[in-house]
């Protein structure tokens, strides 16, 4: 289809839909984040700049022109640095606790239980990697040993995390040398909290170094375990078609939205909703069937494993309820607005929380147990179906916009796509070697020749500080025009899906180089790699490229960008991405700007440690310009 005929949903159309839904909210007497943001203005400048210290009860202490130190003597750099490290530690804790749940699920997996092994090959690979005997053993015995080994990574008393051996030799040496190789996951989180306790580390560079290390415990620890174990239990995702945006909610079906980050619960919900008896039950209440949909990163998880359609991202969670057409919203962990409870009270929507980690007043709490997960899910779907009759047609408005999206491109799928364009006739490739299957060399060749200029990992959340989704979409489009391949996860991925950019047709918006690559390989220009926990996949992708290329990871024209980030997880992620050697471009300022030293440390200082750092601009046009310049500068250094 021609570019002019694409007619993808624009940010303006997304905003118009949001406005209409806010109208529905007003009618229902509900409040949304927009009003709450209004009421929060002006937001606390000290907090914003990271120079308000609440770590001990002598405080709070704030740094002002007349008070350049807190009561204990901590200056702006110490306060901002400690705060920054605490954010990273919290983020790392969040992803890693999620991973620990997956490890427990794996430990309880059994051939006739609720959780089974779906990707045996991956299990075997990891077993081999960890030196776990697999030959001649029952795969579940192997799985349990792998789970135990994974669990041990959280608290291992000695040494560093096993997964860092997946990195390039150069990185492993550097991490050791710089003392940022992560020890036990929990250890790094605890140490971070300890270091920032009243009366401990006051040295900003040390705080930043520990931020990298606790980030590493996430990216090369918790997140990587979370991703791998999810793949073992639910299958490594593969390319599939889905749709994104509020238009995936159906007028005449029972709509269930799963929201959060943990696939264990949502997987069960998806499987339950497919049961013929429940589909029949939906018909018996006058609906055409059950429409299972996802929101936030849970949507990413189930979309790439089942093609479940995606309602939207972080700042769309209230919009979903405001359609008045959602029978049940089931949440697990992370990024869930407590506001959903009062909001769902204004509609017939049942709001179900399922994790002891995310208890919310006003919700129906069903504690999710690995032993009874499927039965629980079935019961919830029944309740959702029975709730269909309570829908108030007066309150229903489903915006029509939705777009097609091609999702499910983890590293394994990317390699498989590249295999399809690999000649079977021993033609030459990068550095004169022969083309071979199972490598990133085809992509590297395209980058070296200049057909592709590089790749950007677009990640991160939505943040009301900027126009929701605008930065994501604007930056992605510009990158596509410049022949820069985008890989994406999390809420950035959802933004791409909503705006059609993740469809295969979106290649028409690209420069001729990326367009041709998409055509030949049969991929969309934006490759969906999963949820935010799957940014670990991106680290392995970049590592694989660097290894196959034979150059250091800091040299490859691959960078990360989080234009609308907001959560502490994002801080952890940004830290491990930088520690891995990839530059990170941020569209939201980290809350350290009250300290010039901290700003300098995170933008320049880390470059001396890991060879990468942040570039920060709240103007998306400036940011994308900087990304392109950064990529071209890396190309120049490679003489390509």
């Amino acid at each position: 289809m021609r570019k002019e005929e694409l007619n993808f949903t624009t940010v303006e159309q997304l905003e118009a839909d949001t406005e209409k839904l806010r109208g529905m909210a007003a009618g229902a007497g509900a409040e949304t984040w927009q009003e709450r943001k209004e009421k929060q203005q002006p937001q606390c400048k000290f907090g914003e700049e990271g120079i308000c210290c609440r770590i001990c009860s002598m405080g709070p202490c704030r740094i002002t022109p007349k008070a350049d130190r807190g009561i204990c003597g901590a200056d702006a750099h110490t306060i901002a640095g400690r705060h920054y490290l605490r954010m990273a530690a919290a983020g790392s804790a969040a992803h890693s606790d999620h991973a620990r749940e997956m490890a427990h699920a794996l430990l309880k997996s059994s051939p006739d239980g609720q959780f089974r092994i779906r990707d045996e090959a991956k299990l075997m690979r990891i077993a081999a990697e960890w030196g776990i005997e697999a030959e001649g053993r029952d795969i579940y015995d192997v799985a349990h040993d792998v789970a135990l080994h994974g669990l041990n990574e959280f608290g291992k008393p000695f040494g560093t995390l096993d997964y860092i051996r997946r990195a390039t030799d150069e990185r492993q040496e550097l991490w050791d040398r710089e003392e940022i190789a992560p020890r036990a996951i929990d250890r790094e989180v605890s140490t971070s909290l300890h270091m920032t306790h009243m009366g401990n580390t006051a040295d900003a560079p040390t705080l930043v170094r520990q931020s990298l290390r606790v980030g590493m415990a996430d990216g090369w620890g918790g997140s990587m375990i979370g991703t791998d174990f999810s793949d073992i239990l639910f299958g490594t995702p593969t390319a599939r078609a889905t749709e994104g945006n509020l238009g995936v909610l159906e007028q005449d079906m029972v709509n269930i939205v799963v929201h959060g980050h943990d696939p264990a619960f949502s997987e069960m919900m998806v499987l339950a909703a497919e049961l013929p008896e429940l589909q029949e039950r939906a018909k018996s209440v006058g609906a055409k069937g059950i429409n299972m949909t996802g929101l936030c990163c849970t949507a990413n998880e189930v979309a790439m494993r089942h093609g479940v359609r995606m309602v939207g991202n972080f700042l769309q969670q209230e919009n979903a309820v405001l359609t008045g057409a959602v029978e049940m919203m089931c949440v697990d962990i992370q990024c869930i607005f407590p506001a959903l409870a009062p909001l769902t009270d204004c509609f017939h929507t049942l709001f179900v929380t399922s994790s002891p980690v995310a208890r919310i007043p006003g919700s129906i709490y069903v504690k999710f147990e690995t032993e009874t997960a499927f039965e629980q899910a079935k019961k919830l779907v029944e309740e959702a179906v029975d709730n269909y009759k309570n829908r108030d047609p007066q309150k229903v408005f489903i915006p029509e916009h939705k777009e097609e999206a091609a999702v499910g491109y983890p590293c394994e799928q990317i390699i498989s796509e590249l295999d399809d364009v690999t000649s079977s006739h021993e033609v030459l490739t990068v550095n004169g070697g022969a083309q071979e299957r199972g490598s990133y060399k085809p992509a590297i060749d395209a980058i070296r020749a200049g057909v592709l200029r590089g790749a950007v990992a677009m990640v991160g959340c939505n943040n009301p500080k900027v126009r929701p989704d605008y930065s994501h979409i604007d930056i992605m489009k510009t990158l596509m025009e410049h022949d820069i391949l985008v890989v994406t996860t999390g809420c950035a991925a959802q933004a791409a899906a909503k705006s059609g950019l993740m469809s295969k047709e979106a290649k028409e918006l690209c420069g001729d180089g990326l367009r041709r690559v998409c055509t030949l390989v049969g991929i969309p220009p934006i490759l969906h790699m999963g949820a935010c926990v799957d940014i670990s996949r991106m680290m392995l992708l970049a590592t694989g490229i660097a290894k196959d290329w034979g150059v250091g990871i800091t040299k490859i024209p691959v960078v990360g960008c989080a234009p609308e980030w907001m959560s502490e997880k994002a801080v952890a992620i940004a830290n491990y991405v930088v520690a891995t050697g990839l530059d990170v471009y941020l569209g939201i300022k980290p809350q350290v700007h009250g300290s010039e030293q901290m700003v300098n440390l995170i933008t320049e200082g880390t470059r001396e440690i890991s060879g990468a750092g942040y570039t920060i601009s709240t103007d998306p046009d400036e940011l994308v310009k900087a990304i392109i310049e950064g990529i071209e500068a890396k190309r120049k250094l490679l003489d390509i």
Binding site: S423, E426, G432, A446, G450, V451, G511, D512, G513
Partner: protein, 709 residues
Amino acid sequence: MKKLFDRVFDGADEMYALAEKSIAEAMDELGADAPLAMPNTAYYLANFLSYTKRQVTTVGGLAEAFEEAKAWNTREDNTSGVFKTGFGVFMAAEAIEACKYARGADPYEGNYHGHLSDAEVRELGVPLVTNDIPGFVVIYGRAPSDEEAVDIIKGYQTRGIFVFLLGEIIEQARRRELNMGFPVRVVAVGPDIWQVAHIISFVNRAAMIFGAVQPGDRWELDEYTFWRIHAFVNVYEPVSDLVVSCGAGAIAMGFPVITDDENDMWPVPKTLLIQKDTRRFIETSLEARDIKLKITNVDIPVAFASAFEGEIVRKPDTRVDYDGSRFDSFELVRTLEAHEIEDHRIEVFGPDIDETPEGEKLGIGFIAEVAGKNMQKDFEPVFERNFHYFVNCAEGVMHTGQRDIIRVRVSKAAFDAGFRLKHLGEILYAKIMSEYDTVVDKCQVKIYTKPDDLKRLRAEANEVYDTRDARLKTLTDESVEVFYNCILCQSFSPSHVCIVTPERLGLCGAVSWLDAKATNQLNPQGPCQVVTKERVIDPEIGIWEDVNENVVASSHGNLESVSLYSIMVDPMTSCGCFECICGIEPFSNGVVIVNREHVGITPLGMTFPEMASMTGGGVQTPGFMGHGKHFIASRKFMKAEGGSARIVWMPKALKDLVAGKLNATAKELYGIENFTDLIGDETIAEDPEKLMEFLAEKGHPALEMEPMF
């Protein structure tokens, strides 16, 4: 290493400089107003037309167009810039070539093919859609040895790939006396890289002719060349920047380049491949372009490929000449019961080739006997008509004619390679069993060369032909239950659809109603689908509600309505590979028909290519219609406008071809004897005034008919 994109830009600069020099010389020598055109094309300088919409007709016009083309030499360091530059290079190359043609229609004096005509483009329409030509290769440079040059050319040829040669490989092939030429699908285009312009012009015209791609529509052109033209390029080392710049254009069009040169070469998967082993160019290339070959294994000692279909075996090269015009000869397909056939039995009755003196002329007859649960008598002539193509595909074997007027020549080379009559049987057996495997379960072949047998069997065959003709006469549009559509060409002309009826065969001339029926039965999901004709709207003009519904669906909404018997009201569209085109001649109220082979001008002031360019690509153009030769004598030929009595002019060769049947139809419809005597041709008139004089003198019926518009 010099960067790939820089090589493209430097090479483009070289080509532009050469073009600039050529144009300046032509301006000096010929002047700005001097006419400038490529021969036998309605598409001006097709590269300039395709990319810039400019219709260049003079040397000055070229100079002006070239100024515009300079903006295409971008030096913009990204793929879009490189692709655009590649197209610019093709314009510059075309400018160099056009300046040669401005000085005379054949600058290569027959030594090289140079420019390819529109008729040549159109001739390839059918073999392309049937996948008989699965792709095109452009080979440039000097192969490591003359022997290897011939091997790669023949390697492609035997796989059906159309071969364009540029540069030194042509001399290499000539030294080895390789038979080259358009009919054998090996074209020696020219000695220099800039003659690549002719190949690109060929492709660009295919896009305009078959794909209805509008000049200047880059997106559509890119889509067309990428998805529909399965071309690729082989270049031998050393590869200069100039050649790299042409490669950029080829790659922009979707044609991968395969080379053995690794100096400053940047491989890109499926796009620019370095294959050090030149002997493996073929497989590497076919895979890179995703070309799947239709392979029939025929157990014969000579090559077997569609590329040899057009090969002519000349008299001095002939070992044996089976001449149906002098000796009893025939070919026949017969349906038998399964138990009567021993599968794959091939019998030769009479002297074989080695038992025949060299250069001897005699008769031949071959009968293919088939059996199958789904076999129908109606399929016999369908198979039989294809004997011509089957036999011709053998290298060194030529077949012409049909039924009992066939001629088969076997060359000395084929004979020396071991070709004998049983191999003729092998060919028929293998092709029938592979092409018609859904209806034929068993097949045996009998070949006769003894005069007594031939006389007896020819008489038997004639009875069969008569029965078939009688059956064909009863096949009218009214007598059959259903029509068929044919969307074979949609792989090439995506919005065209033919409605095939007993009295209107497909416009390519290759698909009759019976063919369509057989195709449908052979492959129910295939290109020919049943079209019901139950809800008639107008039987005179030929409009049915259900036919229209089918047309809407099968043209993907491109067409709404088709009148089967009119050239004025919603005429049937064309893919571009029609045998003939018919257009209104306004002075006489009649129509002019011209066939693809005719190179001269018609009284419309237009040549075949020019008239043909008015339609094609699935577009309805009232007043112009593409059709098959045998439609001319049909009683349904523009029946809505009064029928064949409207025909006022045809090239003589065409007139002679259709005279018998057309005269019979005219007698039946209008009571006119020898109607073709009233029709003009190029020996009578090539302009409307002279034609009118002739028609008035003869009292041509069209002059008395209602005006058509």
